[in-house]
Amino acid sequence: MQEKAEPPKRSIWRGRISIGLVNVPVKLYTMIRDKSISFRYLHKHDGAPLKYQKVCTLDKEVVPWEDIIKGYQINENEFVVFSKEELEAIKPESDERIRIEKFVNLISIDPLYFDKSYILAPNKSEDAYSLMLTAFQKIGMAGVGKFTMKTKEHPVVIHEYKGSLILTTLRYANEIVYPLDLEELKNLPKPTTEELKLATKIIENLSADFDITEYKDGFREKVEKIIEKKRKGETIIPERPQKEEAKELMVALRETLNKLEQQ
């Protein structure tokens, strides 16, 4: 059975979808769950987790939060400094609105603009939400607009998916590299008709319906299997005496520290 991503417990944003004069209160839920395996860094000698610290490159001292400012790097040793207030003043205002400005065909948006998808859920507005959802289903179009989450303004597209409305943030045009700017792609030779026929035939033979569940993260599955084995292995080794031993060391340490204090 295909493993499902767990639904999130809490919404990450609340506001309204505005289409002209119509407002529908909505909540935004994370839709993408990153399942890649992550490891913690540990100290080889005692297994304790490591932490990151911000260290001054000049005096090698750890710098506390209150002593940190932001700088935009111009050259290797040249920065334009920004204060918190300056950045605050120019921050885009979150007006808690997702403004839909027009409707387009979803497939007219190239998928390479898609960034991250979120589930839109009604926020005590089931009737209004249901009406909007049904209208989206009926016209089969996607709404395009913009909204501000945290401090960043995103272009977004809203479309219907399996009985819900999905919001997908989009990349700005200047965030996408134009492929023909790469040297290798500038002067491609034309294939011969024969070659092209053969190639299209191969492609046609391999044509099928798309099913994402056919693909699995093999590395993650292997790591999970090893983790499972190791955990099972751990129960075979008697762990209690080990804990007892650690306790004994502590008991001995406490007793000795007391004795030394009395000396």
Binding site: A48, G233, E239, A252, L257, L260
Partner: protein, 302 residues
């Protein structure tokens, strides 16, 4: 594979719990250091934790020499005089020119529990001390008779000679303290006021050795005869600058982890088995056989 996760978990467990009580971050606690008796590093550390209240006074303010056995006593250990790379800042050191190595060395000085446990964690099983302290390095505050039986002479012969020696010292009004060497011999120690030179203390021990050799055919007092079979050698040469003796309560790198154990004179009886004084039995010896040791710094008639 299974051992790796288990190892990390258990070490981590200790790392966070034990750490609060000591600055030392213990590692490889499961490592077997005495393969024949399956004694692990954790047990060595526990021994040093438990013996510290009695032991630390003999290490205090002395530049130490250790013998480390990171891979257990069946592998070759190594002498360590110089503080090793990675020595924490809080470990006190004493810089002194070493004639044998021809350079300045930073000797470890162990004045607290943390340093002792740090040494234990380095598998510094054997801890040796000089007979003088850092502040008066030329003037010993300990006098050592190293009684070394040469087979077929045994510990019983060493005990017999030690008792004769004690009587002699008593007659000179000198209070002496015996300990097992942890191997086959005995160490008889006299705490003294640090005002004599090593040459004087050496000569003093040598003279008494010579007298004993005259009175008892078992005893030899000269190094040249120390290997003679069936004798008991009283070594006076260790009373020299730069020489060390195994510290009271130091472990010896032998099967069953024997300890160089301070004893009361009454405990020195025929049939005593030095091997029975090991890291498990020594912690239980009460009262302290050397009680009042440092209140007894004595004068020598030299």
């Amino acid at each position: 594979m299974t051992t790796i996760i288990y190892y990390l978990k258990s070490e981590y467990h200790r790392g966070i719990t034990v750490e609060k009580l000591t600055k030392v971050r213990f590692s490889n606690l499961e490592k077997i250091l005495f393969p024949q008796s399956q004694i692990r590093k954790a047990q060595v550390i526990e021994y040093y934790i438990r013996i510290a209240p009695k032991m630390l006074q003999y290490l205090k303010d002395r530049p130490l020499v250790t013998t480390r056995y990171p891979d257990g006593i069946d592998q070759k250990g190594f002498f360590e005089k110089n503080a090793p790379k990675g020595t924490p800042k809080w470990v006190k050191t004493f810089t002194k020119y070493s004639e044998t190595t021809n350079r300045n060395l930073n000797y470890i000085v162990c004045n607290n529990l943390d340093t002792l446990l740090w040494l234990a964690n380095l598998a510094a099983l054997e801890i040796h001390i000089p007979l003088s302290k850092t502040e008066s390095y030329q003037k010993p505050d300990l006098l050592l008779f190293d009684i070394d039986p040469e087979p077929p002479s045994s510990i019983d012969d060493a005990i017999q000679i030690a008792k004769i020696l004690k009587e002699k010292l008593d007659n000179l009004s000198l209070k002496s303290y015996p300990k097992t060497s942890g191997k086959k011999g005995l160490h008889i120690i006299i705490p003294i006021i640090p005002k004599y030179s090593y040459k004087q203390t050496r000569e003093f021990v040598h003279q008494i050795g010579k007298q004993l050799a005259k009175e008892n055919e078992l005893v030899v007092s000269e190094f040249s005869r120390s290997q003679d079979p069936g004798t008991v050698y009283i070594d006076y040469l260790q009373n020299s600058q730069g020489r060390t003796m195994v510290a009271p309560y130091s472990i010896r790198p032998q099967k069953d982890a024997p300890v160089s154990t301070p004893l009361a004179w009454e405990q020195l009886q025929k049939g005593l088995k030095p091997k029975e004084f090991n890291i498990f039995s020594v912690v239980a010896i009460e009262p302290n056989p050397w009680e009042g040791f440092w209140e007894n710094k004595q004068k020598l008639d030299v």
